[in-house]
């Protein structure tokens, strides 16, 4: 029987830990806010921005802009598909939800798979892209694979966490009535976990659109690569047009994910 409160000191430490951690992170990043706002930098910024208008809109540029946009969206979507194909099964195979409490299964399956997921998401997608560009060459396949691997690692970890954080009683009850693992998972956990799973997935999809554009900067195609070229040529109009398209894209994805969440809630 437990009559004592959790020790006061521990509660206090837990409360103080987060602000302390944030402070350390800030120190570590050596951000100097004052330097961001000197007259010199502000003037450069102003000139840069002024060059963006009017955005370029000649037919030739628009055509490559359209192609790059399609590439970026396609890479993001296919990359998410690959990430899901990697993350969902690995999440199940690495969580107690499917494996139960058997120490053998946990040791043989869960531990190595968790390590694999850590490796996948531990390497940032940009770094994956840099590596893969060396392997599969310049272009969108490298970006697609990079997204799939890095985000597969994230989805795998977060899916497993979401499933394990649900109340397990419904699943256990079904298992104790003889139901198979997957059926018990689908009937016992998924109903409550689904909104969280979908919500996290569409959030990742939003990130994938952004990441897909960024990865162009390392030669993996799409809007990022176009942007890279335009910036190198100091073509402010083109950069403005690309940023505009990009903002519209982000706005659209946010609207789609808002819709998905609303339908599901």
């Amino acid at each position: 029987m437990r009559l004592r409160h959790p020790p006061l000191l521990r509660g206090l430490l837990q409360t103080l830990a987060l602000p302390l951690l944030l402070w350390l992170l800030l120190l570590g990043s050596q951000l100097n806010f004052a330097e961001l706002f000197t007259p010199g930098t502000l003037a450069t910024l102003g000139k840069f921005l002024a060059d963006f208008f009017p955005p370029s809109h000649d037919a030739f540029f628009l055509k490559s802009l359209g192609e790059a946009t399609i590439t970026t969206v396609a890479v993001a979507n296919l990359g998410m598909l690959l990430a899901f194909a990697i993350g969902a099964p690995l999440a199940l195979l690495s969580s107690r939800v499917l494996l139960g409490d058997s120490p053998l299964l946990l040791a043989v399956l869960a531990t190595p798979i968790r390590a694999l997921l850590l490796l996948l998401r531990g390497v940032p997608e940009l770094v994956w892209a840099l590596l893969l560009v060396r392997v599969v060459g310049l272009g969108s396949p490298a970006a697609l694979l990079a997204l799939g691997l890095a985000y597969g690692g994230m989805l795998g970890k977060v899916y497993a966490e979401i499933l394990e954080s649900q109340p397990q009683a419904p699943l256990q009850a079904l298992r104790h009535a003889g139901s198979g693992r997957i059926a018990a998972l689908v009937y016992g956990l998924l109903p409550n976990a689904l909104p969280e799973l979908v919500s996290y997935t569409v959030y990742r999809w939003e990130c994938a659109i952004r990441a897909s554009a960024v990865m162009g900067l390392v030669g993996a195609g799409g809007l990022g690569q176009l942007m890279d070229t335009s910036v190198r040529m100091l073509n402010g109009g083109e950069v403005g047009a690309i940023l505009l398209v990009f903002m519209v894209l982000v706005l659209l994805t946010e609207m789609v994910s808002w819709l998905v969440r609303k339908v599901l809630a």
């Binding site: 009683a169 079904l174 104790h176 009535a177 198979g180 009937y187 016992g188």
Partner: protein, 268 residues
Amino acid sequence: MSLSVERASLKLGGKAILQDIDLQLAQGEQVALIGPSGAGKTSLLGLANSSHTPDSGRVTVLGQQPARLGARALKVLRSEIGSVYQVPPLPGRQRAIHAVGAGQLARQPLWRSLLDLWWPAQTAAIAACLRQVALPEVLYQRCGELSGGQRQRVGIARMLYQAPQLLLADEPVSALDPLQGRQMLQVLQDDARSRNATLLVSLHAVDLALELFPRVIGLRQGRVLFDLPTAEVTPALLQALYAGDETVAAPALDIPVFAGSSVSGPRC
């Protein structure tokens, strides 16, 4: 024997919860399990439905020892053990039709169970089970939108739909009014009787246990205090069973209520 527990003991979290439990339930028997809060009723039902394994002694269910079965045989055995839980384990967002339909997961192939989520094949049978627990209107409602008593009855409907050989119900009517509680117990009894299945029900309502069940087991501090035909359960025995516990509806039975301090025995 439908359920046979022999000198079984159970520890949970290093604490002895059940000690030297001995009881036999014949096929088709109907038994009530009573005892003060914390006596171990839920734990005993957990032994019976194989969610707990005894630390010593033996539990045999429908002729087999769950602790000795392989995964496949255990699943088959468990499909014949139905449980109604004290707190209905139903996901809040699940619709009642699927919550009840889950009673057959063990007996149908996975593809069927998955397809059922979009295209339920057994709507009529599931609706019939819900009608038995007087809830015909909630078929497509989410469990989280139901009242506590309604959820409890959906849990009962799931077990009816499962139609197992051994029915275990842990305080299945605790959230229902007395009239409806009696009706639900009778529904369970009728179902068990019609299939010659065995029924073991834990109850806080001693009056219902004495009124409806031919045999009553009294559990106190992890031990069987008595296991008798209802006619032989005397007020003195009930007094001893609940001694030190003044939260029970003892006055309804004309049992003098003891003050907590006058009778020894640690209380949780």
